[in-house]
Amino acid sequence: MASLTMVEALNLALHQAMEADDRVVLLGEDVAQTGGVFRVTAGLLDRFGESRIVDTPLAEAGIVGSAIGMSLYGLLPIVEIQFDVFVYPGFEQIVTHAARYAWRSKGESPASIVIRIPYGGGVRAPELHSDSPEALFAHVPGLKVVCPTTPSDARDMLLAAIEDPDPVVFMEPKRIYRAGREEVSEELPFEIGNGHGAPAELLSTARVAREGTDLAIITYGATVPLSVQAADELASDRGIQTKVLDLRSLYPFDIEAICSAASECGRVLVVHEAPRHAGLGAEVSSLIHERVMLDLHAPVMRVTGFDVPFPQFANEDDYLPSVARIKQGANKVLDW
């Protein structure tokens, strides 16, 4: 066991995957010499050499496209997109190509790549460094989209994403990269490269971050700890027991966990940082109303970012869901 931040846990996963399977390669902007702008890839160049850790030009279409080609030739590439907004030049490669190789080849040649994206606001970054583009990928058939929130989930889910034959978009909430430490087992969560793949639950299930029966807050990423804090305050303010569900898997959804949380609590708030319109909260809300509407005591409500481009950092605290806004939303659902 070691006490690790999310960054260190991701770094551990990369070391372990590359150690266990020499088909694993990593490419991206500044991932080798610099060790990544967030140091997620620190130490890898020294350990595995420049044929497996590749510094690329600033060209995301080229990075993703190269990774797809490497994958079709039998490698297992991991791509780092340096910041969220930088993924858009590579959007065509991800959506039109990576997502479709399995279908186009009748399952014979999936593009087995992992696209790691540090995303989201709250780090006082300049413009174009704070988007939450996860809904754009979750809507695209052929991609898996996941988002860990704890260091040990980050380690286990990244190993599973590398092992998974499908392209996985791996969203890393950069605001909580170093928010806290957790004991992470250095033992592998499953046997790498034995041909059986990763356990499916690592890329398809939600996690209960806090138990409760009066209200369910369904969220993911950097708003998970904020929701837990809001839940604690709701308990002391007014004796409300709030369950916090960390989605972890953004596609596929853990429909079972979402619907049973809704049925159990009867009141649901969805929280995310991305713009509200056509964000993941819309799908969570629609699913619940489709399947378990009669168990609800109030409509599913959403606390989200706003339908404007992510603001400059001087204004980002007004844009991001805060504990106060989450509590306000929760009180609205509770008092409905």
Binding site: A61, V85, Y88, P89, F91, E92, V95, T96, A99, R100, W103, R104, E127, L128, A135, L136, A138, H139, V140, P141, G142, Y251, F253, A274, P275, H277, A278, G279, L280, G281, A282, E283, S285, S286, H289, E290, R291, M293, L296, A298, P299, V300, M301, R302, F306, D307, V308, P309, P311
Partner: protein, 332 residues
């Protein structure tokens, strides 16, 4: 009221005629895209434009959507009114960065000093045996991007009024044309010039038993299914969304208040499609007026769209299926 003169035409001719007329009225309007010049566009939307307006205003571009979008953005910021054609909606993604990161943000980034009156037109949707790369529905991806307007007229009359509005709009607009509707859908189009405001849905068929919200080709299927149900005494109210962002929730909620049952139909894959946002907003505003679940009918979560006719048919909701689903909800 004096009767307005109209001409009966199909969707593609209406878009052609409207765009030509606007170009005659305003020489800031230029069109650019793949094959829009010498060939007149693969769907003939810009047929004859090169001869009439010349190559300074009708520009054949290389096969590079990133370039098309980027050049159009620059033209728009420099005083022109570019109408960029993406040959098929499926091809828009190489230009995604320009549209999402540049066009959509210019007004915000410049603190309102600059704006970007660019218009992206693109044929979308399935049912024409276009297979994987000529059939996609892309509207939900762009509806999630702040700073863009996304519209999808489904009748010739709406296409004219909304195209004029789109060209005049001071901000970027994505104008979606369902390619199966191009020649299938005909209607009386007023000869005079008129605008149809964005953010206004239209109740195309009144009814009291169930509200059906859709757009594009699916809207026509829904009207047909509703007409069939009418023979059995079930009256569906069919709403054509027309504008995907901004949404007209007022019209939808008013109808839901009357029928207490609602279904949203779209051919894009269901997960996180436009119907998710419509359903979420209906629930937020009118949950306890409902007498049944909010039903969404959308495509399966596989890449659009299979080539084999049987699979394409399986992928796309059809009138039979919609009739069945509407009946089921009405009887819920």
């Amino acid at each position: 009221m004096a009767e307005t003169a109209t001409t009966n035409k199909n969707l593609v001719s209406t878009i052609h005629d409207t765009l030509a007329e606007e170009m005659r009225n305003d020489d800031r309007i230029v069109v650019l895209g793949e094959d829009v010049g010498a060939r007149g566009g693969v769907f003939r939307v810009t047929m004859g434009f090169l001869d009439e307006f010349g190559e300074d205003r009708v520009i054949d571009t290389p096969l590079d959507e990133n370039l098309i979008a980027g050049v159009a953005i620059g033209m728009a910021m420099d005083g022109l009114l570019p109408v960029a054609e993406m040959q098929f909606a499926d091809f828009i993604f190489p230009g995604f960065n320009q549209i999402v990161q540049e066009a959509a943000r210019i007004r915000y980034r410049s603190n309102n000093d600059f704006n970007c009156p660019v218009l992206f037109r693109t044929p979308y949707g399935g049912g024409v045996h276009g297979a994987l790369y000529h059939s996609q529905s892309i509207e939900a991806l762009f509806a999630h991007v702040p700073g863009l307007k996304v519209v999808a007229p489904s009748t010739p009359e709406d296409a004219k009024g909304m195209l004029i509005t789109a060209i005049q709009d001071e901000d970027p607009v994505l104008f979606l044309e369902h390619k199966k509707c191009y020649r299938l859908i005909k209607g009386d189009v007023p000869d005079e010039r008129y605008n149809i405001e964005f953010g206004k849905a239209k109740v195309r068929r009144e009814g009291s038993d169930v509200t059906v919200v859709s757009y594009g080709l699916m809207h026509h299927f829904c009207v047909e299914a509703a007409d069939r149900l009418s023979k059995d005494g079930i009256e569906a109210e069919v709403i054509d969304l027309r504008s995907i962002y901004p949404l007209d929730m007022g019209t939808i909620l008013e109808s839901v208040g009357k029928t207490n049952k609602v279904m949203i139909v779209y051919e894009d894959n269901k997960f996180l499609g436009v119907g998710a946002e419509v359903a979420a907003q209906i629930a937020e505003n009118a949950l306890f007026e409902l007498d049944g679940p909010i039903v969404r009918i959308g495509g399966p979560h596989v890449p659009a769209m299979p080539f084999a006719p049987t699979l394409e048919h399986w992928f796309l909701p059809d009138v039979d299926r919609l009739e069945q689903e509407m009946r089921k909800l009405a009887e819920y």
